[in-house]
Symmetry: C2
Amino acid sequence: MSDITHLLELVADDMHHVEEKMRSGVAERYPDLAAVVDYLMGAGGKRLRPVLSLMASKFFTADPDKNYALAASVELLHTATLVHDDLIDHALLRRGMPTLNASWSAGSTILTGDYLFARSAELSAETESVRIVKLFAQTLMTIVSGELQQLFNDGHDQVPTREQYEQRIYAKTASLFSAGTEGAAILGGATQAQEDALRKYGDNLGKAFQIMDDVLDFQGDEDVVGKPVANDLRQGIATLPVMLFSQNNPSHPTINTIKKAIIREDVSDEEILAIVEAIRTSGAIETTLEEARHYARQAQVNLQIFPDSQYRQAMLEIADYAVARDV
Amino acid sequence: MSDITHLLELVADDMHHVEEKMRSGVAERYPDLAAVVDYLMGAGGKRLRPVLSLMASKFFTADPDKNYALAASVELLHTATLVHDDLIDHALLRRGMPTLNASWSAGSTILTGDYLFARSAELSAETESVRIVKLFAQTLMTIVSGELQQLFNDGHDQVPTREQYEQRIYAKTASLFSAGTEGAAILGGATQAQEDALRKYGDNLGKAFQIMDDVLDFQGDEDVVGKPVANDLRQGIATLPVMLFSQNNPSHPTINTIKKAIIREDVSDEEILAIVEAIRTSGAIETTLEEARHYARQAQVNLQIFPDSQYRQAMLEIADYAVARDV
């Protein structure tokens, strides 16, 4: 259940076309940038967003080339936001590899991200669908708004509410998963019910993935996940495990340190590890996992209106994988 | 001829709607960002891109709201690139005011630019026209590619060719002017000849403006234009006055310093001022001005196919203004 290689194989031929679209135009014009784009493209992601978009497209009959353009647009938009995000966060490690800005100048990083935005916009327009382009623009706005919220919002001085957390994981992850699967429905001329189902599948699955990431941020070993444990909290971001722990243990001795971390005061490595230990032994991780599983199950329910097929089966199994993986 | 306030008045009512579209959505969601956007919006620009797009729209009958969306999209795309540009260039002054990144963190600057890209994409999609959205995506790609070219291109170690210069001013300025006027033709259901004419008008006018900016960079007084003289050369960018001077005076004693500046070696303020003096007395400025006037005249010729009207007249006068202004 924790290996989905055989599922990804189902759309491997389509993904070949998607990869071509993602890379096209770079190498001829900007050999230096091509190396960077190759590096970004090959940095170990599973390409779940385009893969799920392609799988969703199999419920319909549409011009494959438009589906490839949509899938490539979604993945490039994801990559573009990661590139700028790295610069914004000054993250030192992502996927266990040095981030772009560690070896490049800030200027090159901004421009590389902008290039990927531009290419992503071009690809979304290649679908010739105004609705797809609107979906692209809205998704970009949702992602950027989520980051602005994080930067500006007054919620920063306290543990976020459940509503704020949901908004955050939607903006950060679910919106793009959802754009890929809903976009496939739009291109396929789906009924309203089918379109709603695929939008919700992407939304629920994206949330399951993000909540699982938030679990792994507390469970994971630095050597395995390639970044320090409680990385979010170190950056002042309280995720669901922290929220549940704080709610259920309001007078725990680590609560003050959590509050310090959230207002971005200096917190030592020892203090962080004490919080991690407290959260791990509190049951908050298990409850968070339950939440992730809830969203994964919802995603599976969303697919009930479609007839059985190997693609539907794969989409169901990917929902299981989302909450069973350990990296 | 150097004051176009009365021309801008012609579309003042329309511009009111455009401004509203540019600002809408920010204040409610991000009060902190709203202040920044207001600052960027009010930073003294003449809004020539949306103004010309609106004037061009008057040759046709189209839904005014779509024309406003197009004009707002063009101006926001321009603003977005300026915001990232400032960060890339580490420019200290623009329009005589502190740039965004001088007072903000790099992260806020990147996100503010991304927000403006997203809003610009939303507005272009509001036109409900796939062709407009494609024009938007292509223009963004052209602008970003121009900046990448500047960052990566091997042309950096020598005085650029005429072709490289044309590409640069197209990417930097003419592409967006042209997107605004061509976009108005597309929304207006123009004939192919009308569309070509308005695209070329924007292209030629944009080039006239940029070449004039390059002239002013050598003529201007720091107190008037709000940035140091020969600012481009200080950043290693050789514009037309430098190109013409180098071509006509290959053994002038300042040529070696020019080459040093272009490969971004340290060049002192005295050395820069010696180059400026040499260029000013060489006739290169006058020849460059002639080039700018040539493009302005071409832009006027492009409008010949349209019947006379106050808007056509204004567009002709703005072409005169482009090369007559002293700031």
